[in-house]
């Protein structure tokens, strides 16, 4: 059941209305039932994986809490991690591992039959596995107490707004909220609906429209002018942002409608002036998860500069692998790791020179900020090429395409309108992106956009809300003329 489907538009209000009508004691049970129903819409059988992950980490946390010896606690944690990661590994990486194992063996003369089992990736498995593991590690570290009520814990793992593509919530934030019954609040309803509306705007007005051009170029890149590939790659940067940010925003709005506040997963990432800053603003729940549960346990920056760089590279390689079982995802992660290492080296050298020459750092000029912004955008877009290509061979074809034909005039002779989005819709897209850039700019400056919006006069709010809804209905990619586009992050 996709957020941008009619089924969800019926499912969600029914769940919310019943939630507020039923007695407080059973509210969380209702949400749990709704969440499992929501998950079962993809593949009912895979609900057992969700249940297994839940049971293993629930039981593991209870045992951890009662175990006194360090060794016992470590064994318990290891088992919890092992079982969960094995499930994730089998469903997500078995084909990938077997493929490369086969290749490696063939190098030394051992030929094996190709691994032909077609494993369907359970939707959301990467997200709920990390969320469950985060909880288990928190209990191991004694940061939180283990949850005694199994149903409440099961809801924490399966809460439908964020089940399939995050944000990957921490038990400290979500578990307590889900345990408490929430009374109807008009403010939550109105804010939640507005946030959802904005999420739909991002997804079906921008991301899905941009996807038409990106798919047209990437699916048939051979023989395309190089600037088309560059153009499509820049648009993919926009698409993946609006797609994933759109999902997270709808999830946040849906949760808020029933009184639950989810964390922000994005904070104007494309205004970042360095890759390091980008990762503080992009997929925040994942990057903080990796920081807290991988980077810091690896030693973080506490064990010297070289070790810090190695840790960064490891974390980003794992992050790439987490996104998908393909070398191109690993390359995408490694690129980001490498960017950060280089950034850190440059920054250190700059600091060293500044200190050595006793120069005053001074205030940053606009031109410097602009250059940094442009470089960051360029670097992220370059990495997205590998991400979108899906395989190294495709990435190579795309890079060769860029190198072989750099006739930039194709961008101005209106031939881009033959890629599936007409000139008129391009203008609509520009207006939409301008609105997104404006709102992101406000967020970047630390303004709480929603709060600021609700401080405005009633007529302004009414006009903006009704106008946004009409804009989505008018210009969104939905209905019989369009295929409902799955959210990109569902595949991870």
């Amino acid at each position: 059941m996709l957020f941008n489907s009619l089924e969800f538009l019926i499912f969600f209000p029914v769940v919310a209305v019943i939630y507020y009508l039923i007695p407080d004691k059973i509210k969380y049970i209702w949400l749990l039932a709704a969440s499992y129903y929501f998950y079962m819409q993809w593949n009912p059988v895979y609900v057992f994986l969700l249940l297994t992950s839940t049971v293993v980490t629930y039981t593991g946390a209870l045992i951890l809490e009662r175990t006194v010896s360090t060794r016992g606690r470590k064994i318990c944690l290891f088992l919890g991690l092992f079982i969960n990661l094995s499930i994730l590994g089998y469903f997500k990486y078995a084909s990938f591992i077997m493929l490369y194992l086969g290749k490696a063996l063939s190098v030394i003369g051992i030929h094996t039959a190709p691994f032909e089992k077609d494993i369907l990736l359970p939707v959301g498995i990467s997200f709920f596995t990390l969320q469950a593991l985060g909880y288990l590690i928190d209990v191991y570290r004694k940061d939180i107490y283990a949850e005694r009520n199994f149903l409440k814990y099961a809801l924490f793992i399966s809460f439908f707004p964020q089940l399939v593509a995050g944000p990957i919530e921490r038990s400290k934030n979500l578990l307590k909220q889900l345990s408490e019954p929430h009374r109807f609040s008009f403010d939550n309803l109105r804010e939640g609906m507005l946030i959802m509306l904005y999420g739909f705007f991002l997804k079906i007005v921008i991301a899905d429209r941009v996807a038409v051009i990106v798919d047209a170029v990437y699916n048939e890149s051979y023989g395309r002018p190089g600037f088309y590939i560059i153009f499509a790659t820049i648009l993919f940067s926009l698409q993946i942002y609006c797609d994933f940010y759109g999902y997270s925003t709808i999830a946040k709005g849906a949760a808020l409608t029933i009184g639950v506040r989810l964390m922000d997963n994005f904070n104007a990432p494309y205004y970042s002036k360095s890759i390091k800053e980008f990762w503080r603003r992009w997929h925040i729940s994942l990057s903080t998860w990796f920081r807290d549960y991988l980077y810091i346990p690896l030693g973080g920056n506490r064990k010297g500069r070289l070790r810090k760089y190695i840790n960064i590279i490891i974390v980003f390689a794992v992050s790439g692998l987490w996104h998908g079982a393909s070398v191109s995802f690993i390359v995408w992660g490694l690129l980001h790791g490498l960017y950060q290492v280089i950034e850190d080296v440059i920054s250190s050298v700059k600091s060293f020179i500044t200190a050595r020459r006793k120069l005053s750092p001074g205030s940053e000029l606009f031109s410097d900020r602009l250059a940094k912004l442009a470089v960051t955008l360029f670097l992220t877009a370059f990495a997205w090429l590998f991400f979108r290509a899906g395989s190294m061979s495709s990435a190579r074809v795309l890079l060769e395409g860029i190198a072989s034909d750099l006739n930039w005039t194709v961008l101005f002779n209106k031939s881009v309108y033959s890629l599936g989005v007409s000139e008129d819709y391009f203008h609509v897209l520009l207006i939409s992106v301008a609105l997104l850039a404006f709102i992101d700019r406000l967020k970047y400056r630390g303004i709480n956009v929603t709060a600021a919006f609700f401080r405005q006069r009633w007529w302004f709010r009414a006009l903006a809300e009704a106008g946004l809804l009409l804009f989505i209905i008018l210009f969104g990619c939905y209905g019989s003329a369009y295929d409902v586009q799955q959210f990109i992050y569902f595949q991870f």
């Binding site: 009619l6 109807f184 008009f186 403010d187 109105r190 007409s422 008129d424 009633w458 007529w459 709010r461 009414a462 006009l463 809300e465 009704a466 106008g467 809804l469 009409l470 209905i473 008018l474 210009f475 939905y478 209905g479 019989s480 003329a481 295929d483």
Partner: protein
């Protein structure tokens, strides 16, 4: 509580602005259909005295003349019909009429094209699937138009809610969404704006002019009480029809049957006599269906199940109705005014007579009728050779088209000549014989080729000849 009420009140301007925006966009994008506007204006101005309702698709509005019927039978007759009307809409319209008027008799027209299953291309699954007439997205618009033109009522809401499948639900509820492909079509918008006048100012009749292939003008007019008139005609060169039903394979669709049955049951429950009938079409169209008799039998047995009469006017003997000629038709499936006048009188003669008397006026089957009539070449029907519906409308010239000669004798031998170029100029055209005196009745030509096929036959001493453009 007070805060919640105040907050809820804040939603009112949002809803009002949204509705106003929708209305504005409807005005810009949704063209008002003249037929439905005039039909429902006429219906709502009837003084609760409609006696007889003729309900169905365009067959009713073209073929049955309500004003002529008023003169003949002295009742107030009303055609509650619209183009492509589906049986679910007919059912709710019947309920609406029965609620507003004391109906003395209901006549349901059962044109095979509007009730039978057929194959359609399904975009979602990228495959061909069998669909009922009601479930075919091509026919959603008919119910939308009806519901928009009706005054608000439970029945109009029911028609609207049943109009489409789940995929089209937003189009169903918000009319302008259906015209999103015309979002930047300024001509479409300016056309709609130029027509933006109060209904009363535009009047309640409508006239539109067309041109025949020979250049002669013809018209179509919409009048009150669901009457359409036209002086168009079907020339010999136009006797060609696409095969879009295969009645050998498919019968009445489940949904259509269900609503047809509901309509009959509703009438019987409310003591309103009900009769089924089928209006005539030209024979080359009927022959394109394959086994039309299968449909005749199916409909008849459905009527028998309810103990009601069912008359297929395609099966009537020539001495009672002789209109199977192009001069009586505006197109192969609809009568023109001349045809409708003759037909309306003959129809009423049948409908007002007893079932026993009517029995002798009809052939039992369509095959029986074909065999009983003089040998004749009716025309052609065509279908893509692959039979693959996915390619039917994509304009792909690679697909060959199969043309089948429609005649009433299986053992007829045909000489077929293809005439390419200007048929009026001997020097500017080329003729070549495709086959001579052969029982083969199918000709395959590239779908992007155009010309005229001359079909000749000598049968039992009669020389038959027809030239049809393709």
């Amino acid at each position: 509580m007070k805060k919640n009420v105040r907050n809820l009140a804040q939603l009112i301007p949002v809803i009002l602005i949204f509705l106003a925006g929708c209305r504005l966009l409807d005005l810009l994008y949704v063209p008002e259909d003249e037929w439905h506007r005039i039909l429902f204006h006429s219906y709502y101005t009837q003084e609760r005295n409609i006696d007889q309702a003729f309900i169905g698709s365009s067959h009713i509005l073209c073929d049955v003349e309500p004003l002529l019927l008023d003169e003949i039978n002295g009742y107030n007759n009303f055609n509650m019909s619209s183009p492509q009307q589906r049986f679910d809409a007919s059912y709710y319209l019947l309920k609406e009429m029965a609620g507003d008027h004391k109906l003395k008799h209901v006549y349901l027209e059962c044109y095979y094209l509007c009730v039978t299953d057929h194959e359609i291309y399904d975009k979602n699954s990228d495959s061909v699937r069998v669909s009922d007439y009601i479930g075919d997205p091509d026919h959603f618009a008919s119910s939308w138009q009806i519901s928009y033109a009706m005054k608000p009522s439970l029945n109009s809401v029911a028609i609207q809610l049943h109009a489409s499948d789940r995929d089209h639900m937003i189009e169903n509820l918000i009319p302008f969404v259906r015209y999103r492909e015309k979002l930047f079509d300024w001509e479409h918008i300016s056309d709609n704006l130029s027509n933006f006048r109060p209904s009363s100012e535009r009047g309640y009749s409508f006239h539109i002019d067309y041109e025949e292939p020979d250049g002669s003008p013809w018209y179509q007019e919409y009048h009150i009480k669901g009457d359409n008139s036209s002086n168009g005609r079907v020339f010999d060169s136009e006797k060609i029809f696409p095969k879009d039903r295969d009645l050998t394979r498919f019968g009445i669709g489940a949904k259509s049957r269900s609503y047809l049955c509901k309509s009959i049951e509703f009438c019987q429950k409310n003591n309103i006599p009900v009769t089924l009938f089928v209006s005539p079409v030209l024979d080359f169209q009927l022959l394109s269906t394959g086994d039309y008799d299968r449909y005749v039998t199916e409909l008849k047995s459905l009527a028998d199940g309810y103990g009601i009469e069912c008359y297929d006017m395609n099966l009537i003997k020539r001495e009672y109705l002789d209109i199977k000629r192009g001069e009586y038709y505006m197109d192969p499936e609809h009568l023109n005014t001349a045809g409708a006048e003759v037909y309306t009188e003959a129809l009423w003669n049948v409908l007002s007579d007893s079932a026993d008397n009517n029995m002798s006026k009809f052939y039992t089957t369509y095959s029986e009728k074909l065999a009983a009539e003089e040998p004749e070449i009716y025309g052609l029907y065509r279908m893509p050779v692959s039979g693959d519906l996915t390619h039917r409308d994509d304009g792909n010239p690679e697909i060959d088209m199969q043309y089948t000669i429609a005649s009433n004798r299986d053992d007829m031998e045909y000489t077929v000549t293809n005439i390419v170029g200007d048929p009026a100029s001997p020097s500017g055209r080329t003729e070549y014989i495709i086959q001579e005196r052969n029982k083969n009745n199918t000709i395959v030509l590239p779908s992007d080729s155009h010309g005229t096929l001359r079909i000749e036959s000598e049968y039992e001493g009669a020389d038959l000849m027809l030239e049809v453009g393709y």
